[in-house]
């Protein structure tokens, strides 16, 4: 075979190939960029929904357990709420009124009680009367771990009781079986952390800890407090449901070049 026998592309062939190739590449690029944007938008939307879901789970867990009638709603803000939230739980298996302060040995259900913990203790008073039942607060001054509750993990707590009213704490009113609840006081609300907006938790005098986010910069967290008829109330002891709104705003934009956003509204009914 000689050199003249070799055949090449004609100019027309090359031009056709170039045009077709360009069209194909442009089409592929279009598909590629569209898919990339769809993927990114869906990722942002999924992340937003996950953020909202996580936020509602946290708030539901904390707010379900409060007792508005017992004063657990300490501050009712539009974008934050300060509550007494449960941290541990026990059941009294023995009560020693001969010591001062009273010593309560409790079968421990949750994390260990510690000296300095704030607690509420159920006072049964007359056993056959429900109307005289009450709760008194106190701060644990000393703790001793043991197995005195029938061999189970238990602790003996020294608790000087504090009456929330002028009424004196009646003697001999804590009985076996009395529940004991350890609690913390903190605020759940919207905080700016590292330039972004988060649902966070802040203990008194501490810096807030982010829980979920980032959320919409303004109005990302909102609370409304409703009574048992569903009307907005400002009286903490009348609150029977708390409406929570969480809003999420992504830096990503959708096909209309609008920021991807989502929101969720949930009404949480405190059980206590």
């Amino acid at each position: 075979m000689n050199a003249y026998g070799r055949r090449g592309f004609t100019l027309v062939e090359l031009l056709v190939v170039l045009v077709l190739g360009t069209v194909l590449l442009l089409a592929s690029y279009g598909i590629l960029t569209t898919n990339t944007r769809v993927y990114a938008a869906n990722s942002a939307r999924a992340q937003g929904q996950q953020t909202l879901r996580g936020g509602i789970a946290v708030l539901s867990g904390e707010l379900r357990e409060i007792s508005p009638r017992e004063g657990d709603l300490i501050d009712m803000g539009a974008h934050s709420v300060t509550i007494r939230a449960q941290r541990t739980f026990g059941l009294a298996c023995a009560v020693d009124y001969s010591s001062s302060p009273v010593k309560i040995t409790a079968f421990r259900v949750g994390p260990a009680f510690a000296a300095g913990d704030s607690v509420f203790v159920f006072h049964d008073n007359e056993e056959d009367r429900a109307r005289d039942d009450s709760w008194f607060g106190g701060v644990v001054t000393a703790v001793a771990s043991n197995t005195d509750c029938a061999g189970a993990t238990s602790q003996t707590l020294s608790v000087p009781f504090v009456s929330s009213t002028a009424a004196a704490v009646p003697p001999d009113s804590v009985r076996i079986g009395a529940p004991i609840r350890g609690f913390d006081e903190f605020t759940l609300g919207q905080y700016q952390i590292d330039g972004e907006s988060y649902l966070g938790r802040r203990e008194k005098g501490e810096t807030p800890d982010p829980l979920v986010g980032p959320l919409l910069g303004s109005g990302g967290v909102a609370f409304r407090y409703l009574d048992n008829r569903g009307n907005v109330t400002t009286v903490d002891t009348l609150v029977s449901q708390i409406e929570v709104t969480l809003r999420y705003l992504s830096e990503m934009k959708n096909f209309q070049s609008e920021p991807i956003s989502d929101s969720v509204v949930v009404r949480i009914f405190p059980r206590n």
């Binding site: 070799r6 590629l32 357990e65 059941l91 049964d124 039942d133 079986g177 206590n272």
Partner: protein
């Protein structure tokens, strides 16, 4: 090199490249969707488990098994569980005192597939038995002149009825023998004996009609209308426990002379504590046994060998004759007409906090279980994990 080999193009490479990129994107999209689905399903399952646990506590409280849970020893636990098309719930009922119970509930969604593992949530409720406030303050609480004659005895010392050692708490709280408005109204003749802490005491404030007619939120008419057994009055003979050969206690109005079995708490009718209403004057003779709460519109006369554990409330006067009458619990006789009451023969009325308490606690009509007022509910998943 052949002519064919010498041809070069980029269409194939371009196609492969584009397909690879599209494949990666599609795979990423599927992965993202799958992850989102899994998170959504996990969240739904956790929520379902939570509500299953809550449904369990509600169901156990609405269908409270008085006999089963009441017979538990302190800190002992009984389990109740059920399954639904959505999952299962299980509630451990722990008896802390005669009135306080802790319900620890678990709601569970079984493993759906290798992708969706099992999910569980735990919560607890502290519940108490709310009962009618019927609690005798003495072995005999009455008004007007009362004669203790013959060898009749009234004792305020707290006693556990014979054979009830396994169902009564150790704590005993002595009461007064006779609580009345004027201690001088109580007379003793012969070997009649009254004891207690103190033997006789005067009520402060004085006993009035309301004391014998209003029991917390329940009035006398409320109580009598709730009675398990209605008897028109007159002579009542031989009240005895009645059960099938299979050991099922025959209860209610269809068996008006079955007033439970006070002699053996483990027997078929040992946990049957009926509310019995005699709508007139009652005369109980020829022996018999019973337990529960006996309400009498008129007078009550016990004529011998009648054993009763629980509470007797009489709007008229209360009298005994013959031998063998033995009451453990408390008698409250209004004696509204201030007649002379005579306890004669060998009758014995002994205060028993346990018998009084069980008579109320083990009566379905008088006892309801409710979460304690405020702070009864606890999310155990948040304090113990899960």
């Amino acid at each position: 090199m052949t002519e064919t080999d010498s041809r070069r193009g980029f269409a194939l490479a371009t196609t492969v490249f584009v397909l690879v990129v599209l494949g990666v994107l599609a795979t990423g999209g599927f992965y993202l969707a799958r992850q989102e689905t899994r998170m959504g399903v996990a969240s739904k399952r956790a929520t379902s488990a939570f509500y299953l646990a809550e449904a369990g506590t509600n169901q156990v409280m609405s269908e409270w098994d008085l006999e089963r849970f009441g017979s538990l020893s302190y800190w002992a636990t009984a389990n109740v569980s059920d399954s639904t098309e959505n999952g299962v719930w299980s509630v451990n009922v722990t008896k802390m005192t005669d009135r306080l119970y802790f319900l620890g509930a678990t709601g569970g969604i079984p493993q759906g597939s290798s992708v969706y593992g099992g999910t569980g949530r735990m919560l607890g409720v502290v519940a108490r038995l709310n009962t009618a406030e019927i609690s005798p303050e003495a072995a005999l609480t009455t008004r007007g002149k009362t004669d203790i004659r013959g060898t009749a005895q009234v004792h305020g010392e707290d006693r556990v009825p014979p054979g009830w050692g396994t169902v009564c708490p150790d704590q005993l709280e002595n009461k007064t023998g006779i609580l009345t408005n004027n201690r001088n109204d109580v007379k003793y003749t012969g070997a009649g004996n009254v004891s207690g802490d103190p033997k006789v005491s005067e009520a402060d404030p004085p006993l009035d009609d309301a004391y014998f007619n209003q029991f917390g939120e329940l009035s006398w008419s409320d109580l009598t209308s709730m009675a398990d057994i209605q008897i028109p009055g007159g002579t009542i003979n031989q009240t005895m426990p009645d059960s099938t050969a299979a050991g099922v206690c025959l209860t209610g109005q269809g068996y008006p002379t079955n007033w439970g079995n006070p002699l053996d708490p483990a027997a078929a009718c040992g946990d049957y504590f009926p509310l019995i209403h005699i709508a007139g004057t009652g005369l109980i003779q020829s022996g018999g046994v019973g337990q529960g709460i006996l309400l009498v519109d008129g007078n009550l006369d016990l004529r011998g060998n009648f054993v009763f554990h629980g509470i007797i409330i009489v709007q008229g006067n209360f009298e005994t004759q013959g031998t063998g009458n033995r009451i453990y619990g408390g008698v409250m006789a209004s004696n509204a007409a201030f007649d002379l009451q005579k306890l004669t023969g060998g009758s014995v009325v002994e205060y028993s906090g346990c018998a009084s308490s069980r008579a109320v606690l083990l009566n379905r009509g008088l006892t309801r279980v409710r979460p304690i007022d405020r702070r009864s509910w606890v999310d155990l998943s948040s304090v113990v994990g899960g």
